[in-house]
Amino acid sequence: MILLTAATAGASTCGGGCGRVPGSDPRGSTTTINREPAMAGQIQVATPQTLNISIDNFTFTPAQLTVPTGSKVVWINHDDVPHTIVSNTKAFKSKALDTDDRFEHVFDAPGNYPYFCSVHPHMTAMIIVK
């Protein structure tokens, strides 16, 4: 995995509409004497990526996906019945996805994002943004 500074990662991913500046994360400015000098003032963040989640047989695969902040997640419905992608906390919500339809969302802030299919609520999964 490629590691970059937070500032670089932020510049490449945070387009219009993103209110948070990644470099301003309070954790980034916290330094202590005990830390390695080279780490001071930097956050190690993996490059934002585009990752796919497949829907097959009423199941999100992978069921749990960990992505770097700023990553785009793309869901693709391979089932013969429609599904939706709905955040438990209303962070995102897709329209009805028929067979082979896609939905994408960019995750700009770290956190856990549980979601489900509002048509088949037994389908649950989670995105973890770090």
Binding site: D80, Y115, S118, H120, H122
Partner: protein
């Protein structure tokens, strides 16, 4: 059931199993009489059951038409819905009511609802009633559904009426679903139901219909309603309750005290038996010549003098 212990062997078990399979294939008559359920196949010798007796009136249930679906095993779901209506129109006695227990459409599209309306218009019945399936409400929070079928209903389409001595209740359990959960009625609807039933005498037969089964069939596939117990508790005092559902695209029945549960076939495509496939999606590999034997409708006959409701399942074969 009359069963002798010394009869139990592999052969007998297999024979009994095949007999049960035949029932599934040919349709079955369920007769409810004072809470006791009995059954016979269509092919069995005629007997003086309520299903044979002239009914005071009949009504029909169809379900899961999924207009807009066009994949294996059924590329022509409009055609099979029309076939179901033809069967209804060919019944010897014209049904008073047609009840559609949801998933009228596949994607809640206006043109799909238009087709449903067009086809159901040709049904020779006095009145039509609907409850939505999740496919009818998920795309637009039930707007298109309620624009068409919301008249004289409450909330997301729940309703009740009394027809010739039977109190009918249509419930909606496909909206505001929670992550990891099953079908949901919600407190507003339960409050309404409590009020609605208050004025109904214990001796009045109840017919309750909703899309998702009001009994837990297979939670792993979402085949149940999480707050159905609260609704069923309100119905315990009634002498006879018949619950009609769809959603699982196959016939299943159960009796519990005064309540008979029944799920009807789809008019579009069959789904697997609980746990018998990786998912509850359409059974894709059904041969074309077998498809109609797995689709169908249910006719319910009511005989007031015998206090009976008989649910008769028929396929489209």
């Amino acid at each position: 059931m009359d069963q002798k212990n010394n009869d139990i062997s592999d052969n007998v078990d297999r024979r009994n199993f095949l007999k049960c399979m035949a029932w599934v294939g040919t349709g079955m008559v369920w007769t409810m009489n004072n809470g006791l359920l009995s059954s016979r196949t269509f092919g069995a010798a005629p007997s003086a059951t309520a299903a044979d007796a002239p009914a005071d009136f009949t009504f029909v249930q169809i379900s899961d038409s999924h207009i807009g679906f066009a994949k294996p095993p059924n590329q022509d779901v409009t055609g099979t819905l029309k076939l179901a209506i033809d069967r209804i129109n060919a019944l010897p006695a014209r049904p008073d009511l047609l009840i559609h227990t949801g998933d009228l459409t596949h994607l809640s599209k206006p043109e799909e609802f238009d087709t449903v309306d067009q086809v159901l218009k040709s049904a020779k019945v006095a009145e039509r009633f609907y409850v939505p399936g999740e496919h009818d409400v998920f795309a637009d929070d039930a707007k298109a559904y309620l624009d068409r079928y919301g008249k004289n209903t409450r909330g997301l389409g729940w309703h009740s009426y009394t027809h010739r001595g039977i109190h009918f209740v249509g419930l909606v359990n496909v909206a505001n679903l929670k992550p990891g959960g099953l079908g949901t009625l919600g407190q507003d609807q339960l409050d309404w139901l409590k009020k609605d039933l208050e004025g109904v005498a214990n001796s009045t037969p109840l017919v309750v219909y909703a899309h998702v089964p009001l009994w837990t069939i297979y939670p792993k596939w979402g085949w149940g309603t999480q707050d159905s117990e609260a609704a069923l508790a309100l119905m315990k005092r009634f002498a006879s309750v018949t619950v009609l559902n769809g959603h699982i695209h196959q016939v299943m029945q159960k009796t519990e005290g005064n309540i008979t549960f029944h799920t009807g076939r789809s008019t579009a495509f069959p789904q697997p038996q609980p746990g018998q496939a990786e998912s509850p999606g359409p059974l894709k590999t059904v041969p074309a010549e077998k498809l109609r034997s797995m689709l169908g409708l249910a006719q319910v006959k009511y005989t007031e003098t015998q206090h009976t409701l008989a649910v008769v399942d028929a396929t489209l074969e």
